[in-house]
């Protein structure tokens, strides 16, 4: 019999979404036991890397309106966002900014003591609330520290969740490995919030933490929940070379220029009204076009890039407002932005897609919610605006935390715990992976998956590339690579890495199939062979359900309330 522990509420993932949910739940009912389970140590989640800002309307007296935030979000999404969901985000956000502030968030301030905001791409008002340029880090710290107030929140640091246990309808627990000891556990619970974050490590050139792999998405997918809109991947215009670490959009929000080889602010040819502050998909495409047409630079590692020029901001302003990227740029590319422009290139940065949920974050299993980047409640549609993601994490963290408590407080008829599923899972990971065999190095398989996506499903896509990519992924899948050389129990990251790679294959497949099927260009998904948006045939979401052979693809309608889709121009 496997070791077993029990909580009322299990929160998988401790990024912004997970921690916000934990606080909301703990506050709402101090009696329920909450377990926050994360494969990293709790405060080390990917969210600490978020840099630029969190969008919210807090300057109504200066002329900002919630309405405008909603419209910017919907327009930014290329009209694929569910408009009621976008509305919920924008309405709930202002209060959350103040709530974080009351908990200790060190927001940057104006001289008069009020919270300051900066410009961000795609907005018609400067509404990215910031704290220097380490917004996610400070938010994580604020939430982590606030969690310390509550005795009913328990942190399970470095527990790798492998699967969701349910009886076909209702949630009953998860299975997980405690990394430090290597013990396999069943964690029983009444409700689950999945907040396992994005999966951008399926691309090799990526801003994400190395822990941002799709195992969270994959466990929901294997549990029968749909992945939605996975073909929409956001490429941030300014990943620094060669590491791919992000240079925040705030750098352009503060006035930075993008330059091509002729020293020209080329964005004037692509989005004259917004220039460098057009939405990310547009800027990234512009950069790729410039490079493809020979107006890029060649970095000393051999790849093409563009220059991000901050010199005119001056050293003092760079230090005061962009200290984090100054540090990154000096350390990781030997460039002080006050003296030299930074070498940048579009980089995988966000997944608009995720676990299919409704407006409340509820998933397709009873007792399961999803929040944050792992979820796809369709607030971002085909392209997320910068600073809207941390907002999303916080808002749906709060919503799902609260709804999960309501659910737990109600009486439920609980069916017999499906122990056989735990046995099956144990077999899958121990016989199939831990004791698996094969002669191909799994880490090289990982490199190939991520290189494939980088090559074949980057900013611009086309049918033959995507099909090639899919073929390559399937070849890799068929190889005998699934094995773990490290036989120790304790802190066996070789084992967890191979499980991550296993999930990458399945999710990469969904991304590619989704992209092949969507024969149009919308938001982050730009097809050279179908260069225009096609509302008649593709104004719908994509759903993918797990099947051992091949994902089962379905369509899902877009909720349109006030804003009829129009051509998207900046």
């Amino acid at each position: 019999m496997t070791d077993s522990i029990e909580y009322d509420l299990i929160i998988a993932g401790s990024g912004l979404a997970g921690l916000r949910a934990a606080i909301e739940a703990a506050q709402k009912n101090s009696k329920i036991k909450i377990g926050v389970v994360a494969k990293t140590q709790v405060m080390r989640s990917h969210s600490v890397s978020a840099e630029g800002g969190t969008a919210a309307v807090i300057q109504e007296e200066e002329g900002d309106t919630i309405e405008s935030h909603i419209y910017d979000t919907v327009k930014g999404s290329d009209f694929l966002a569910d408009q009621d969901v976008a509305e919920r985000l924008c309405q709930m956000m202002p209060n959350e900014i103040y709530q974080l502030e009351h908990w200790g968030m060190p927001w940057s301030r104006k001289e008069n003591g009020k919270i300051d905001q900066r410009n961000f791409g795609g907005y018609s008002f400067a509404r990215a609330t910031y704290a220097i340029d380490k917004v996610g880090f400070f938010e994580m710290q604020t939430l982590y520290d606030t969690c310390q107030k509550f005795d009913n929140i328990e942190f399970l640091n470095e527990w790798f969740i492998t699967s969701i246990i349910h009886d076909g309808k209702q949630f009953s627990g998860v299975t997980a490995i405690e990394l430090s000891s290597g013990t396999f556990y069943t964690i029983k619970g009444k409700a689950l919030i999945i907040a396992t974050g994005g999966a951008g490590r399926i691309y090799s050139y990526s801003t994400y933490s190395l822990s941002s792999t799709p195992d969270g998405l994959d466990m929901a997918y294997r549990a029968g929940m749909a992945l939605k809109d996975m073909e929409f991947v956001q490429f941030h215009p300014t990943g620094v070379l060669p590491s791919g670490i992000l240079i925040t959009e705030g750098a352009r929000g503060e006035g930075g220029y993008l330059l091509n080889k002729d020293g020209e602010r080329f964005m004037k040819n692509y989005a004259a009204s917004k220039m460098e502050l057009a939405p990310r998909d547009i800027v990234s495409r512009a950069m790729m076009t410039e490079m493809n047409e020979g107006r890029g630079f060649s970095h000393d590692t051999g790849v093409q890039c563009m220059k991000l020029d901050l010199r005119h901001l001056g050293d003092e302003k760079i230090k005061a407002k962009l200290g984090g990227i100054r540090e990154i740029s000096i350390k990781f590319s030997n460039i002080d932005p006050a003296d030299e422009p930074i070498d940048v290139r579009p980089v995988c940065h966000y997944m608009m897609g995720g676990i299919h949920t409704n407006i409340d974050g509820a998933g397709e299993l009873q007792g399961v919610w999803a929040a944050g980047e792992a979820a796809c409640n369709s607030v971002h549609g085909a392209n997320r605006l910068g600073a809207n993601s941390t907002s999303e994490c916080i808002v749906w963290g709060k919503i799902t935390g609260s709804l999960a408590v309501d659910y737990i407080e109600k009486e439920h008829t609980v069916s017999q715990f499906p122990d056989h599923l735990v046995v099956a899972e144990e077999k899958r990971i121990y016989d199939g992976i831990f004791r698996g065999s094969g002669e191909v190095n799994p880490y090289e398989v990982k490199q190939e998956i991520s290189d494939t996506l980088n090559d074949k499903a980057y900013v611009y896509r086309n049918e033959s590339d995507l099909i090639d990519g899919l073929k390559k992924i399937r070849e890799l899948k068929a190889k005998t690579w699934k094995h773990v050389d490290d036989k120790a129990k304790e802190y066996n990251t070789n084992f967890s890495n191979v499980m991550e790679i296993d999930s990458m294959i399945r999710v990469a497949e969904v991304v590619l199939i989704g992209a092949i099927n969507r024969k149009e260009s919308r938001g982050g998904h730009a097809r050279t062979d179908y260069p225009v948006r096609d509302d008649a045939n593709f104004l719908h979401h994509t759903l993918a359900y797990f099947d051992p052979n091949e994902p089962i693809m379905k369509k899902h309608p877009v909720t349109i309330t006030k804003y009829k889709p129009v051509e998207r121009k900046y």
Binding site: I132, G323, I330
Partner: protein, 146 residues
């Protein structure tokens, strides 16, 4: 788990000389402060014992004074002087710091980070104290041998 959580470097972490190159002069001042404190305490106890001989009459008093009238004795006394000067000087620096003076002002740090509390004033103070201690030892030797 409990036992494991007690992990520590041990006395090595205090006296390992490679530490001082890596962690700077403040760390060196720290270990000197400990050693001189203990040294002074040892001397002080000895000193109290020595002076108590005054009660036993002139002969005993002189005999006990004789103990330090040798070359080794002089060197020992010079060391005590040095320890005393360093401990006092560094003690004053530490007290000022621990009362919040001379640490610089908290504020946004800029990369590359230079800890303000380990500033030149403090470092100069440590070097000066060491210098002063050496001077005092030299002077003491001059008096004693001279």
């Amino acid at each position: 788990m409990e036992k494991e959580n007690k992990a520590k470097e041990g006395i090595k972490g205090w006296i390992n000389p490679t530490k001082y190159g890596k962690f700077g002069i403040e760390r060196f001042a720290w270990i000197l402060m400990r050693i001189t404190g203990l040294g002074l305490l040892a001397y002080f106890i000895g000193h109290i014992y020595e002076t108590s001989h005054i009660l036993d009459g002139k002969a005993v008093w002189n005999a006990s004074l004789e103990l330090t009238q040798t070359t080794e004795g002089h060197i020992f006394l010079a060391l005590v002087i040095g320890m005393c000067v360093f401990h006092t000087g560094n003690g004053i620096r530490l007290m000022l710091g621990q009362m919040g003076y001379g640490l610089g002002k908290p504020g946004r740090p800029d990369y590359p980070y230079k800890p303000q509390s380990l500033n030149m004033k403090g470092k100069a103070c440590i070097y000066a104290t060491i210098g002063l201690a050496a001077l005092a030892m030299w002077y003491g030797m001059a008096v004693m041998f001279g």
